[in-house]
């Protein structure tokens, strides 16, 4: 058990197994209603699937903190703008379609900003990789 929980996916799995046991008890021992069965199945099933995905990703990525350069993002105006766009989109259902157009415009600008930020982050990681490669070569 200790070995299972020692991995991130293991902790999620143990939790999923606990939920599954509770769901089976509800379903098999007690005469619970259909909604309880469906909600129980959703929570147990989703957590087990999620543990499997996490385990698969862990295996693919190797150790949790391996020797990969990591670009630390220090700010993102585009994300803030996207937040405003989402709020505006929801408000549009109350205050009319004009707000939906404003929201769509903001979302578009935000999406452009996010693409630019990602490109910049990739470029800096590539720079570091190249520098590390040169160091190793010398």
């Amino acid at each position: 058990m200790k070995r299972i929980v020692a991995r991130g996916s293991g902790a999620v799995l143990v939790w999923g197994v606990n939920l599954t046991i509770l769901w089976i008890v509800a379903w098999a021992v007690f005469d619970v209603d259909a909604t309880t069965v469906v909600l129980g199945a959703w929570m147990a099933g989703s957590v087990v699937v999620w543990a499997a995905v996490t385990w698969w990703r862990e295996r693919r990525a190797g150790t949790p903190a391996d020797e990969q350069p990591l670009a630390v993002v220090d700010g993102s105006h585009a994300t803030a703008l996207l937040g405003v766009a989402i709020v505006a989109a929801l408000l549009a259902t109350q205050f009319g379609p004009w707000l939906a157009y404003v929201s769509a415009g903001l979302a578009l600008v935000a999406a452009g900003g996010l693409v630019r930020e990602r490109r910049a982050a990739r470029a800096s990681v590539e720079q570091v990789r190249a520098a590390c490669g040169e160091e190793r070569a010398t």
Binding site: V5, V47, A71, I86, Q94
Partner: protein, 534 residues
Amino acid sequence: MTTVVRPPPSRPSVMGRLTSTDHKHVGLLTGATALAFFAIGGLIAMVMRTELAQPGLQVVSDETYNQLFTIHGSTMFYLFASPMAMAFALYLVPLQIGASQIVWPRLALLGLWLLLGAGVLMYTGFLLPGGAGKAGWFAFDPLSDDVGTPGTGQDLWTVSVILAGLAGILQAACVLATIVRRRAPRMTMLRMPVFSWSALVSVLMVITAYPALVLAMTLLYIDRTTSAAVYDGAMGPIVYQHLFWFFGHPVVYIVFFPFLGAVAEAIATNSGKRFFGYPFMVASLLIFAALSMAVWGHHMFTTSAIENRYFALTTTAILVVAGIEYFDCMGTMWRAKIRMRTSMLFAIGFLALFLIGGLTGIFVASPPLDYHVHDTYFIVGHFHYTLFGGTVFGMFAGIYHWFPKVTGRLLDERLGRAHFWLLVPGALLTFIPMFLLGHDGMTRRIANYGADRGWQGLNTMSTIGSYVIAASLLIFLVNLVRSLRGGPRAGDDPWEGQTLEWATTSPPPPHNFDELPPVRSYAPLMDLREERSS
């Protein structure tokens, strides 16, 4: 791990802070937003308590009172307690596990902006002709449909809850991914500090339970604004309650676990000992989290639409795992040289007051007893002891414990003690009378009661208690401002901490650590101290 860091500007602008993706900035801003809403929600509570001090209507109308209790409850759950739990996790988890940055920092920032939007929308309702939402923080259907509660205020309330739910999911996903993917070398799951474990189970629950809230509210919104009639039909309201309480009960633990973790850290540090029974604590957290996902039906005992025995069993079983956690906290203090700092006082206050909430929980876990006190002030007293005793006392234990790390300055201990010694009697005076009033039949959500009911004395007592709480919080505010303006420098590790966050500067640099100490257990700094002394 190689980290690419661009040096930040020496003093970031307001916009710079609001768009920063540094997990510390996002955590701090989320926490500050939550604290602001805590103050507003508290002021609303004082207006309500003032109204209830005497029979009759003196301060507000019935209509306004409905809005006040709705927005008070909604603020405290959606805008204060859940975001505050996420704020602690966002700020501290990466530091405790030795990560330089959170995974998906933009999502965490987006969560903050959605939370701000949720708050603005919820309170905008007060400016509209029909007023703010007034169907309670749970908004049961059909009370909350367009016939039961017409008006834009209730629509905005529904949208704001959707936004708050999405914000919680986004920030929780970031914390979970960080724990799974960014732990420092040799920081295995079973070497993670207790706080990080408590944050982990909390975010696991958020990701499972919050989608039900978002779904319930989205369907409610569709129900209110279109002719879809989603919750119509004999079982519609029951399905709504299922969806709502599938979120509504776990959220009580979502806002409890991180503060239990904070209390555990404060107790271990102030006792100068490793946390007692660490593996049992981890196991109990995982089982507790699973059980608390399977108890939502106890809110529906009186509907006769659920299997009461199952939910009574799962609810009562929680006592066993909660008992383990209490035992571990007390085991840590056993024969320790305890330093009675303010954080320790609040940690002990947390244990004592949450115990009252837990013990009265046994009453309401039993269907026959629940039938007697359902929808009365007994329930109000019970959940205020779990939320005020658990979340608020745990939050203050955490704030007094980690304030020096976050700001680099110390809070005043004398003011801190005054804050504590006013808050404890305030909480007892406010919430104990509620048990008696509830037992006597005073129902929830009423602005008025007859003078002949004999409830005035207990209500006045409760109102005085709420003023005492307000006075204690004012002392905290003074302490906070004084310390931020010119409190004594804290240094990197003023308390002889045990976990990695105390190994870096106060406040930590943008990349968190210049150098990480070796991790051999869940108390790596204690290992180092023991190694040096031997």
